[in-house]
Symmetry: C2
């Protein structure tokens, strides 16, 4: 019953991910044909540097003219693994115009311009798949779009950037400072030469935008995601977390507000209790919690980056796109019917851990407590402890109840103004309870 | 763009799961319509006891004649949540004959007769979805069938039965005996009045058959799954595991043999190291590891049973089946092209932990070691330790290297024949390393 005319794939980009895609398409050709119902053939590979030797890729397939490859007229599916905004966006748009389905791993582009791409795919009646854009091989996009399509997702909470998780893990377990841990991550190949996208949280924020969009059936763009990286996380923060029975993780958090009328998406470092499953996610691994009305709490865990894991996700999508092609059908398109407003960070409800360096004298706690009260923030616990080797100072460690983030920030600003507060040693949100 | 004529659903069964499905279809009707692209309507609910009050279910929809409901001519999708072999099988078959797609949570039926059902669905050109049959809302069927469709799965290892996990957890953390832990599970509603399906491993074996079938593109039936329940697990086994830095879990294990030429599926209690993520799966939760060539190790975690989580999976499948209906397309059907032979348990490669009660005198270890050598089993570690309060006996704890299960069993039989072996205190396979 198998069709013999092969489906033709244009591979755009042949770096770490692309070369794995090409390799698996060759080595697993028979399995892919069986699973799709027709053979699938690599019709061309568009690269920037054609001279580079790519093991397992037929040099005759290599071209520098990606656009001509897409326009040649016989391509069924384009796999875009170039990354970045341009030329990826122009090439994907050209593909759609030519009636070609697209599989992409491009989180930056989807977070920036996903809706327009979805609309172009709709107009052309073709597929846009992007499982590989979030946490590589960990199935997240498909479970959220399809498995949970009959449920109501309230929260997505996860570690979606392996580089920063590696750095925080080193700071936590080896007592390394941020700079030292980053150097180690770079030496081991976990961090890129320019680590900005990872350490400033841009990568995680793009993933948060994509996940929030799917989870809440609402368009969420990168600009809608509150973003704090981990460059400000200090050894003092890590130590403060440890004293609280917590660890620090860079979390992507997508939430539906308690009243259900708005959603939010944010990326920032946060303390989570050691008993939380995310606390034990080590090294460069990723893990994502999804909380929904009926399913309750689900967790997805695995390698969130790397050539082979990302290629696995790309190929799963490729099989779907090819099957749809054969059946003259399409997978689910964009679902943005809910169009809930995306709250600014100030309106999001969070909890803070605040560690203050205070003068150890009567009345300090009263002063501090007054500031919290005036800002409308109620205190969950407060702990006062003398500082080792100091005769006049103490630590005052406050964990708040949930409050609007803007109120919490106003509290911190007001605390800094107090004469008795000598310094703010650590401020961090607390999640996962 | 939304179609106004509703898709019609026949709900077969209205117990714990069915009533949740009916409830969510009512409360989330608008969301479901948006996600499907057409309204979806509960057209009838077939039950055995129509007198029972079912909150939120319109009594006018209730019927005792399931077959007439399916045959009335306007049903698009049948949701089968009756369970068991008959009448579920006959009703599903009737549905397919009438061109109706089916969503089912029926693991027993799928493990017994899945291939025939898939063939009937193929013949009718309709869908058979069954995410809810394995680990309730935890997305496993869809990720294996679709997300990993471009990868090669080598192993599925998981806790897929909440009842037995609850019992083992109690035995491990509270030092309870099997009977006591079972009583507690029954009192809390985790175990049914007749716990056979859970404690003898039938439920887990059905899930293993389904998962192995999808993972290896091979038909695997319940009879192909080696099955050992946990009724033989003793407090001594749990204590032995703890001394090894392990815990005992009832595992479902689906494996591709090292040479790739055969597969196996089995359910049995096993020791796993405390450092393994499955070791920390508590209470009635489920978790499944999937290991594949490109994606590496993935883990899926969540509530593996219960009305709402199972309904979440059913509704996700319902949305897919309805979307396909609108698009005149189908989801992926059975993929059994590989048809690898399923190995009997004796040919599966495992490791054993064996704790022997031996006479504490010279030469015992030599005798024991000779038995292992004669059976062709090599020893990884051996530990000899005096028994508390005994003057002439000792424990001899042996952990083997990997060997054929039949050779390991022969070793145990031969050990029992030794005069110096006073008893076999604990035998258990070791997994997850």
């Amino acid at each position: 019953m198998m069709r013999t005319r092969p489906l033709k794939v244009a591979l755009l980009g042949c770096g770490v991910v692309g070369s794995e895609v090409a390799r698996i398409m060759t080595t697993h050709a028979d399995d892919l044909a069986q699973r799709i119902g027709a053979p699938v053939e690599l019709a061309g590979v568009a690269v920037r540097r054609p001279q580079r030797v790519r093991e397992g890729v037929d040099p005759e397939l290599v071209t520098t003219d990606a656009e001509a490859l897409i326009r040649r007229g016989d391509i069924d599916v384009a796999v875009e693994v170039i990354g970045g905004i341009e030329p990826a966006r122009a090439l994907i748009t050209t593909a759609f115009e030519g009636g070609i389905s697209v599989v992409t791993a491009n989180k930056a582009l989807l977070a920036e311009d996903g809706s327009r791409l979805h609309q172009a795919a709709d107009k052309a009646g073709v597929d846009l798949y992007y499982e590989a854009a979030v946490a590589a091989a960990i199935p997240l996009v498909r479970p959220l779009r399809e498995s949970l399509a009959g449920d109501k997702v309230n929260r997505v909470l996860g570690i979606v950037n392996g580089t920063t998780n590696f750095i925080l893990d080193r700071m936590d377990t080896h007592g390394a400072g941020y700079g030292e841990a980053l150097d180690e991550a770079t030496a081991l190949g976990y961090a890129e030469a320019d680590p900005t996208a990872d350490v400033e949280g841009f990568d995680a924020a793009a993933k948060a935008a994509i996940l929030a969009g799917i989870a809440f059936h609402t368009r969420v763009r990168l600009d809608d995601v509150h973003r704090e990286g981990l460059t400000e996380v200090t050894a003092a923060d890590i130590a403060a977390a440890q004293r609280m029975g917590c660890t620090v993780k860079l979390l992507a958090i997508c939430e539906r507000a308690a009243d259900g009328r708005s959603v939010s998406a944010r990326v920032h470092p946060a303390m989570i209790p050691l008993s939380h499953p995310l606390a034990s996610v080590r090294g460069a691994y990723n893990a994502v919690f999804v909380e929904s009305d009926a399913a309750g709490q689900l967790m997805f865990y695995g390698a969130g980056a790397g050539g082979a894991p990302t290629a696995s996700a790309v190929l799963g999508d490729l099989v779907s796109a090819c099957r749809n092609r054969l059946n003259h059908s399409r997978g689910p398109g964009e679902s943005a019917y809910a169009q809930l407003p995306v709250s600014p960070m100030g309106d999001v409800v969070t909890r803070y851990h605040i560690s203050l360096d205070v003068a150890d004298k009567p009345g300090v706690l009263a002063q501090v407590a007054t500031v919290f009260a005036e800002c409308g923030v109620s205190i969950d616990t407060v702990r006062q402890q003398g500082k080792e080797g100091s005769d006049g100072d103490a630590w005052l460690v406050v964990v708040t109840h949930h409050a609007r983030d803007s109120a919490l920030r106003a509290t911190v600003d007001a605390l800094r103004e107090l004469d008795t507060v000598l310094g703010v040693a650590s401020i961090m949100r607390v999640e996962g309870e």
